[in-house]
Symmetry: C2
Subunit: 420 residues, 2 copies
């Protein structure tokens, strides 16, 4: 497939990062909303307009422990000249029997208890003598004080949670309050992670000469889960075309995205590329980025499942995930912000970058004591440097047309939050 | 129990927020580390010093597709005057047979393939004529170029992941690379969430006169999970002391913290307080905070399980969670940052606050176009306002000795991140 937007750099035909990203974002499906129990909806985006079928509160009630009275009866009350009222009863939270008071009377009430008809204020216990048969009130209060009125929180028919709202503890509180046990949400995309390569052995195995431990299926599954997907680590591809095709077909049935990490010949034909061709074919391209320029994307099988191929070198695999896969997952989740926010930072060192390639370097970004940010690269991008990547807290992005950033120059930095 | 640090405000004996927090933080247990499969360790803190039993890479290898040669042989190579070498073989990734070259020879290599003995550089295919029997090299390269050396990433015995490091995708990548299938981590604290109150009915039920739907067990379980705990929503307490005690005993057996939301009489004796007394007793106190001053804490049963009681009013319950329970969960997780970071913001409105109480108001904080932050309160703190809380993105904290913040004045704001 000709890529009209590609550019030639030193005789190599390169596809701009944005073109590859746009193709992926334009092709990932929008999963249908699903209904989940409210607690399982946590962290997802609401996919329905939830309106309240109830008023909250459902009845006028006391806002704290005290005495329900008529505001008009206590307008003259002071500590020196208390107003004395007869206590006609007591109501606890949960009592369902309506009560009422008239002029000159008070009813003892607990917080959350139904307000007696006729009362329009609750006098906090601390502002009375806390009497049982009669009560002395020491202060005047405006009508409505310490009373929660029907519908103060939500009136019947009001919007409780809007479409697209992220569901957190406060939304779960509100959903429960309006009586919802289940809610429609944008589901977590199901991503299957595979890795391909004759040299790969599983983590538990001892790597022989020339062999490599499969780190990508672990790292990419973790990254996919971190981005909000339901990730399934399917591990190392069998070393046989027929079985590869069967495995891919099986995983495509139960996945919204299939993610494959491997070392691919650009335009060449290894086993995996033959297997993918048999399923409809993905397009391998040189993307104008470092590390790891060889990428591929296609929609395969009867359900046109997106298959994203990222480089097999572990650092390049996680960078590719960050650049192409995380935004796709967030798009499927319905998030408005597909990309991490970036900041400008002062580079503590000189950075070199190949012309025509967008370079992603792992770095450590810190706040500068005088304001702004300072960033220091970790390693130089040519090596796998897993141990160094694990110490990074950001990616430094050096644009295609920049070959050198001098020490003290500004660079774009993408902080990657870690729990801590 | 006398609280020596308490202060009197308008005749009410109040315990400072910090005292209550310190008591809880001083009393929560430090759970023993557990071993988990590396993918299940995601988001937790490493509890062991992981050192590498391997070198990474395990063998010198090609950093990209090209030709392994001796740097000394190509020092004169240019596009105009290429150096011509005999290609003696080809090595793919995963090939385990060691090879070697001598002066004047080249070996075709794929990225990840073992470097032939004698070679010290890999010439990228693009800088050659890509010949099969003989190859023309167009550029000189420094020794070591495009070669990944044994131990470049991690040397045997090197530290891979340190104690206290949060385990994210990069750490999982590294753990897999050093051959770890399992890792010791600080476990998620197990928190059981209960709520107490005669007036409560479950979400699915229709609330009768005077009844309230239980929102707290949902909201607090969600908040606990959000903070990193393994939360178990045990729902509404039975309305019977004997069964309450049995339920609490059962939950204490399987919990690191028991969290109870309810409307408690301060110093009074309702059913729950009697049940807690039977198990050893918790101390109910008036904490100098709004909303919801009545709090309790104790360590109950033979295992001295921390029991935290928070107010039953749903907004006060989530504020209390934020102030007391979230830091306790983070302490148990081993996090260094127990508290959310706070920022100073300009208040868009006048704020009133009771003297002697630390007031927490829900608000919306925004970046100001001219720099800094502006915050606007949502509601006034006296009402339950679930719907308003759900629109908030921060808590505004007004200190005990402040009774008024004028519009334009600075206040402390605790942003609460929502996915979005």
């Amino acid at each position: 497939m000709a890529d009209t937007g590609s550019v030639d750099v030193s005789g190599v035909r390169l596809r701009p990062v944005e073109h590859h990203l746009d193709e992926i974002l334009g092709a990932v499906p929008q999963p249908d909303p699903i209904e989940l129990a409210v607690l399982d909806a946590q962290g997802l985006l609401c996919a329905e307009l939830v309106t309240s079928q109830r008023s909250l509160p459902a009845f006028d009630q006391a806002g704290l422990d005290g005495y329900a009275v008529r505001a008009a009866d206590i307008v003259t009350a002071t500590v020196e000249q208390p107003v004395d009222l007869a206590v006609v009863g007591e109501t606890a939270a949960g009592d369902g029997e309506p009560t009422s008071i008239s002029a000159g009377l008070a009813q003892k009430v607990a917080v959350g208890a139904m307000l007696p008809a006729g009362a329009d204020v609750v006098v906090p216990a601390a502002w009375t003598d806390q009497g049982a048969a009669r009560v002395q009130v020491f202060a005047a209060l405006a009508p409505g004080s310490y009373v929660r009125r029907v519908g103060d929180d939500v009136a019947t028919g009001d919007t409780a949670v809007e479409i697209g709202t992220p569901i957190g503890p406060a939304q779960i509180s509100l959903l429960a309050a309006v009586g919802r046990e289940r809610v429609a949400v944008r589901p977590r995309p199901r991503i299957t992670v595979l890795c391909a390569g004759d040299e790969l052995v599983d983590v538990g195995a001892v790597a022989g000469p020339g062999q490599q431990v499969d780190v990508n299926s672990y790292a990419l599954a973790a990254a996919a889960r971190d981005a909000g997907a339901a990730a399934y680590r399917a591990g190392i591809m069998p070393n046989d075309r027929r079985r590869m095709v069967e495995l891919l077909e099986g995983q495509m049935l139960r996945s919204d995205i299939v993610l494959v990490a491997g070392t691919f010949a650009n335009g060449g034909h290894d086993l995996l590329q033959e297997a993918l061709d048999e399923l409809g074919g993905v397009t391998f391209t040189q993307v104008a980025m470092h590390p790891g320029p060889v990428h591929a994307f296609g929609k395969l099988g009867p359900d046109a499942v997106p298959v994203i191929c990222v480089p097999g070198e572990p650092v390049a695999a996680l960078v590719a995930f960050e650049v192409f896969v995380r935004p796709a997952i967030r798009l499927m989740l319905g998030k408005r912000q597909l990309f991490r926010r970036t900041v400008q930072a002062v580079s503590a060192q000189q950075l070199l970058s190949p012309l025509g390639y967008r370079q992603y370097l792992h770095g450590q970004v810190m706040r500068h004591p005088d304001g702004g940010y300072v960033v220091e690269p970790i390693g130089d991008g040519d090596q796998a440097m897993l141990a160094r990547m694990a110490r990074a807290n950001c990616l430094i992005v050096v644009d295609e047309d920049v070959t050198e950033v001098s020490a003290g120059g500004l660079v774009t930095v993408m902080p990657m939050l870690l729990g801590g």
